[in-house]
Subunit: 160 residues, 2 copies
DNA sequence: TATTGTTATACTCTATAACTATA
DNA sequence: TATAGTTATAGAGTATAACAATA
C-alpha cells in the first residue's frame, strides 16, 4: 500500500505502468455515475450468475410479482423499454417456465403475466442475492448517508 | 399536477392507466443507481447529438487529450474495456480525422494516440455540452450535496 | 382509428479466441 | 514466452417499422 502510494506520486501504478490521467472526467457527476453503476451492476451480476440468472431478469420478475396480471406493454413502460423489446425477454421466461402468459378475457389483445411457482422460487433466490448486494452497498455508502444518496438518485432520474 | 397526485392516490396515473408497483425495487440502491444513470446518460446523449457525437466518444477523446501518446490497450484498461473493443472505436475516430494513430519507435507493436486539431475542436464542443449537463445535474443535486454525492459514487466504484 | 403483441431487421456495445508482428 | 493490436465471431440488449388481431 505504501509502495502503491509512492508509485502514484511518480505517476506510476504499482504494476509499473504509467498512470492514466482522467482530467475533468474525475470530477464529473455524469462520468462517475456511469462508472459506479457499471461496478455495482457487475457485482450484482456475479451474485446472480451463481443462480444462473442475468440481472436484467430480476427487475422483470419483480415487476410481475408486484403486479400480477400486468401486460407486456405496461411492463415495458415501467422499465422504460419498447414493447418489442419485451417479446424476447418474455419468450425466454415463459420457455423456461418462470412466467405464465394467458390471454385476457376482457381485452383479447393483451396477455396477463404471472409468475409460476418456479418463477416465484427463482425470484426469491434472486431477491436474496439482491439483499446481499444491498448490504455490500450499504457498507460502502454508510448507513447514515444511504437515505440521502437514494433521494439524490431518485431526483436525478427526473432530469428531463 | 394536483390531478396527477389525486390519480396516484387511487393507484392510477394521470393517463388513466393502472399504476405499476415497484415493490422492493423502489428502495434498492442498485436499481435506482441504474435508473439514474440511464436518465443522465440519455440527457447527455441529447446534448451531444446536437454536435453529432455519441456520449461514448467523449470519454475516449478526453482520455487521449489528457494522456497524449497513450496506447490503445492503456486506453481500454482505463475505461474498463478489452483492447479488442477499442479497435472499432479508434478506427472510427481515425477515419473521421479526430485521432492520429502513429507507431511508436520505442515499441513497434504499439500505437501512440493523439488528437488532431479537428479532434481537439470536437472535444472542446463536447466539453461544453458536458458542462451544460453538469450544471443541470448540479441544479438537481444541489450545490451542498454535490461533493458528498460524488464521494459516494467514487466509493461505489470500488465495490469489488 | 388506436392498441397489443409479434416479426423482421438492424444497430451499438461488448467479449473471447485465434492470429500477426513484434518484444 | 509475453504483449499490442486486429480479425472473426457471437451475444445481449435495444429500437423502428410493418403487420395481424382486436378494440
Amino acid at each position: 500500500m505504501a509502495r502503491k502510494k509512492a508509485a502514484r506520486r511518480k505517476g506510476k501504478t504499482a504494476g509499473g505502468k504509467a498512470a492514466v490521467r482522467f482530467g475533468p472526467l474525475a470530477d464529473w457527476v455524469g462520468f462517475n455515475l456511469r462508472m459506479a453503476q457499471e461496478s455495482a451492476f457487475e457485482a450484482f451480476s456475479h451474485l446472480s450468475r451463481e443462480i444462473g440468472e442475468s440481472p436484467g431478469r430480476f427487475a422483470t420478475l419483480t415487476l410481475i410479482a408486484e403486479n400480477p396480471g400486468i401486460s407486456q406493454s405496461a411492463l415495458g413502460h415501467a422499465a422504460g423499454r419498447d414493447k418489442s423489446s419485451m417479446t424476447p425477454v418474455l419468450d425466454d421466461l415463459v420457455r423456461r417456465g418462470l412466467v405464465a402468459r394467458a390471454r385476457s378475457d376482457e381485452d383479447r389483445r393483451t396477455y396477463r403475466l404471472n409468475l409460476t411457482a418456479a418463477g416465484a422460487n427463482t425470484l426469491a433466490r434472486l431477491t436474496a442475492c439482491a439483499r446481499r448486494h444491498e448490504q455490500n452497498l450499504d457498507r460502502i455508502i454508510g448507513p447514515r448517508d444511504r437515505a440521502r444518496f437514494l433521494r439524490t438518485l431518485k431526483r436525478v432520474q427526473a432530469i428531463s
